[in-house]
Assembly symmetry: C2
Homo-oligomer: 494 residues x 2
């Protein structure tokens, strides 16, 4: 280990021990050598971590704390994975990827505090807006008070919560009714359990942003498990926490953008993070494991793979990964999701008594949030365009989609929405190194057949990534938890 990275390591540990050592980390971020973008890699380390998303970086961070020599190899030219800051023309920062945090997400919250990234509450004052064909309502809370859906929706939620309680977060395949629940799609289950199609339309405002799918290809067992993981060891998950803004998964955001979290972790890891280093082959022998990247091959004692499931499939494995593991990876497609943001001089909807939240059963924007920066120096509306809505609008021209998204915003907050000062969008399906967003969802039958391999090491290879978490899977919190778990697993071996 060279002198410079030795210094970085001390900085890292110091920051961690000091807790709220914001300035130390801020200083480190400016002064430390950044992640390397080119040049040769070290030939030999204790642990190689594949993927510099929050999960991989967290694993590396903890392994460094444990005294291990670590290298994080990242295919992309940046860190953060599905978490990505975007700077607006006016200098404000918003997120193009994962952004929200909430109660019981204590691992991401603790990490952010350690890194000096404070949170602020998502704006919820005022009324939400609900739009369905021939109806527009203002309301508070999570469920729109559409008389056509209320009874069904209440019952649906009750059933989801009751069933999800029967699904162990660490082994959903052992649920008593696992086979039955894994045999049907979420879409079908909803159809069977509701009277009016509108309930499903409303539920898309949850499904599309959460999974990037309408549930047409997603196992019901997976949804039940996902809901069960929306909590922590002392607060069992439930649908309300999984779907709500205040006190739920969308409760708060990070000042300066969630992208600061992976960025500051990477800064502290300094040249232990290697960018532009896609992994092509992982070769295990009795004595070591070799990770071949476009920037050279690194030998290690153990490897942590912290990439979206379909990407692990693209690596050439020798020996082959266990078959059931490879089958699992093939049965976890990534969702389809875009985030579309419109920027206004100020959050004008607030003056109208509106929260900036909206749910619609039609159009390009099924779910809208207020995405203004913490200081409200400008107003930003965020529309999720996912699943079948992405199918429709994702393939239109930018101009057409922009117009449709702005119309969607205007439906909720008025005509002023049609004239933003800036429009920004990010289509995660186009991202070479994530292949979709926000998460990978198992298709029917996959959890019961292959699910038990989700965290099962394959020789010297261990698994991180939010999909391997047992709480808040699919969220930044799950990514942190998975990274921590993988680091603990490996620290004992490397």
């Amino acid at each position: 280990m060279d002198v410079e990275s030795g210094i970085s390591r001390r900085g890292l540990i110091g920051g961690a021990v000091a807790g709220g050592a914001v300035l130390a980390f801020g200083g480190l971020r400016q002064s430390a050598s950044a992640a390397s973008s080119s040049g040769s890699l070290p030939s030999n380390v204790d642990v190689v971590v594949v993927g510099a998303g929050i999960s991989g970086l967290m694993a590396a961070r903890n392994l460094v704390k444990a005294g291990k020599d670590v290298l994080v190899v990242e295919a992309n030219d940046r860190v953060g994975g599905r978490v990505l800051n975007h700077t607006l023309n006016n200098g404000s920062v918003i997120e193009s990827g994962g952004a929200f945090v909430g109660p019981t997400q204590n691992h991401i919250l603790a990490l952010a505090q350690e890194l000096g990234v404070p949170t602020f509450k998502e704006y919820v004052a005022g009324k939400n807006v609900y739009a369905a064909k021939g109806m527009k309502l203002q309301y508070t809370g999570t469920v729109p008070p559409d008389p056509l859906i209320l009874a069904d929706a209440a019952l649906l939620q009750l059933r989801l919560d009751e069933m999800s309680k029967q699904v162990p977060v660490d082994a959903p395949w052992t649920a008593k009714k696992a086979a039955q629940w894994d045999s049907i799609t979420v879409e079908q289950w909803i159809k069977r359990n509701t009277i009016l199609p509108r309930v499903r339309e409303v539920l898309l405002a949850y499904l599309q942003p959460s999974f990037g799918t309408d549930g047409t290809n997603m196992s019901l067992l997976f949804l039940l498990w996902y809901i069960a993981t929306a909590g922590d060891e002392t607060h069992p998950g439930n649908f309300t926490r999984s779907s709500s803004t205040a006190d739920g998964a969308q409760d708060s955001r990070f000042v300066g953008g969630s992208g600061l979290v992976p960025q500051r972790m990477a800064d502290a890891l300094a040249d232990r993070v290697a960018l532009n280093a896609p992994v092509r082959r992982i070769t295990q022998s009795a004595s070591d494991v070799r990770v071949a990247t476009d920037r050279g091959t690194v030998r290690a004692k153990q490897v942590i793979v912290a990439v979206p499931p379909p990407l692990a499939l693209g690596i050439q494995w020798s020996p082959a990964l266990p078959s059931r593991r490879r089958q699992l990876l093939q049965h976890m497609p990534m969702g389809q999701l875009m985030k579309c943001d419109a920027v206004y001089a100020k959050p004008f909807w607030r003056d109208k008594g509106l929260s900036g939240s909206g749910v619609a059963t039609y159009g390009a924007v099924r779910a809208m949030f207020d995405n203004s920066p913490a200081d409200s120096s400008c107003g930003v509306l965020l529309g999720f365009v996912g699943g079948s809505t992405w199918q429709t609008y994702g393939r239109k021209s930018l101009a057409e989609r922009r117009a449709a998204v702005l119309e969607g915003f205007a439906l909720f907050v008025g005509k002023e929405a049609l004239n933003p000062v800036e429009y920004v969008e990010h289509d995660w399906t186009l991202d070479q190194w994530t292949k979709g967003s926000p998460i990978a969802s198992p298709t029917p039958g996959a959890i019961t057949a292959y699910g038990s391999t989700i965290r099962e090491p394959a020789g010297r290879v261990h698994w991180a990534g939010t999909e391997t978490a047992t709480y808040w899977s699919g969220f930044m919190d799950g990514a942190v938890r998975a990274g921590e778990r993988a680091a603990t697993e490996v620290a004992a071996l490397a």
Copy 2:
């Protein structure tokens, strides 16, 4: 083009023009330079074909005939993809992969004739055996005469045929009921349309060998389409042809093994086939396309990708593939299938009046075939172990699985089956460069959402592989047809 490959090209065209020029091709196979296994690749060709399975080789063959300079790059150290000969200890040859051919599969049959590979009829004289708990029957034909299934099975077949007639082979997503049929799994549809669970158990003898899955994760629309493709332009597909031995998909086999077909194509292409050359990146520009392999980068005007769908996902694409195409690739997992063969001094079951075909509702062998070589110089029984049966037996030790498979054979043909002179198995899920077998099946929702991209070129990139065929998709015939279609598409452009 160098002198040697010029000679090879003349040999190829000569053979093709001469039709049954068996000896010329036989001679070529012995004398021509083989596919290259190492060393640098040409820097510039008209067309690069990715994948040296039957489909890619067929595309290359036709493009060479059209006067194009072609290079086939293959990741593996052999050609053939999912078609693979295996030489037994006694020198006889059997197949570890795709083997059967039948009526209306005119493209593979014509190709094989051109290459001098004759067919012989699969042995069907004598009785088949059906085994269910508490019942064993001998019968002829396709459907076991179990009184507990007959009524249901007949109705099921009728319904499948009626529905599949409504599915256009070239555009299943346009079927009137496409959305409905694409929303449920095959397993669910069967459950809904049968009274007794045993019908489904029997149907597994078709589903597991054909798809490597029980249908738990497979769209009903896909099955209907697959059945519709079991024919040709003048003989609409139907379930009987898709599932039968005599006059059906398992009617005949190739003398010397199906592996001779890709081998002879590759021999004729000589050093236009490069082995050990996994493709890592495909980069398109306004003027060309560059294919980066482990053996160097090749520039071309056009590319044909003829690999199993999940493998295309593992290539680094620049620019990114169209999103819907990448989504399709993520929603087409490969099946799980092993072929297990036991070899005996002679096909002893024939003397007992048995065909060597069997269907069971339990045990390691749900579907058995007589796999003896054309000259019956020894007896070979073939068991398919796929889907949930693979889940159970694929993870056992070789000794345990061998014992279970032999017991399965003995159930059908008697105790002599327990003592083979040789036992051979091939688990396709372990194959790095296919990732499963026999085919990739779309999960629910995928065909209607993304299916229309199945043959849609992405700039200079075109698609082959049996999954892109419109007749006999999933068979060698579909592979040939897809290769021909892709070659025609590209010949006009390169």
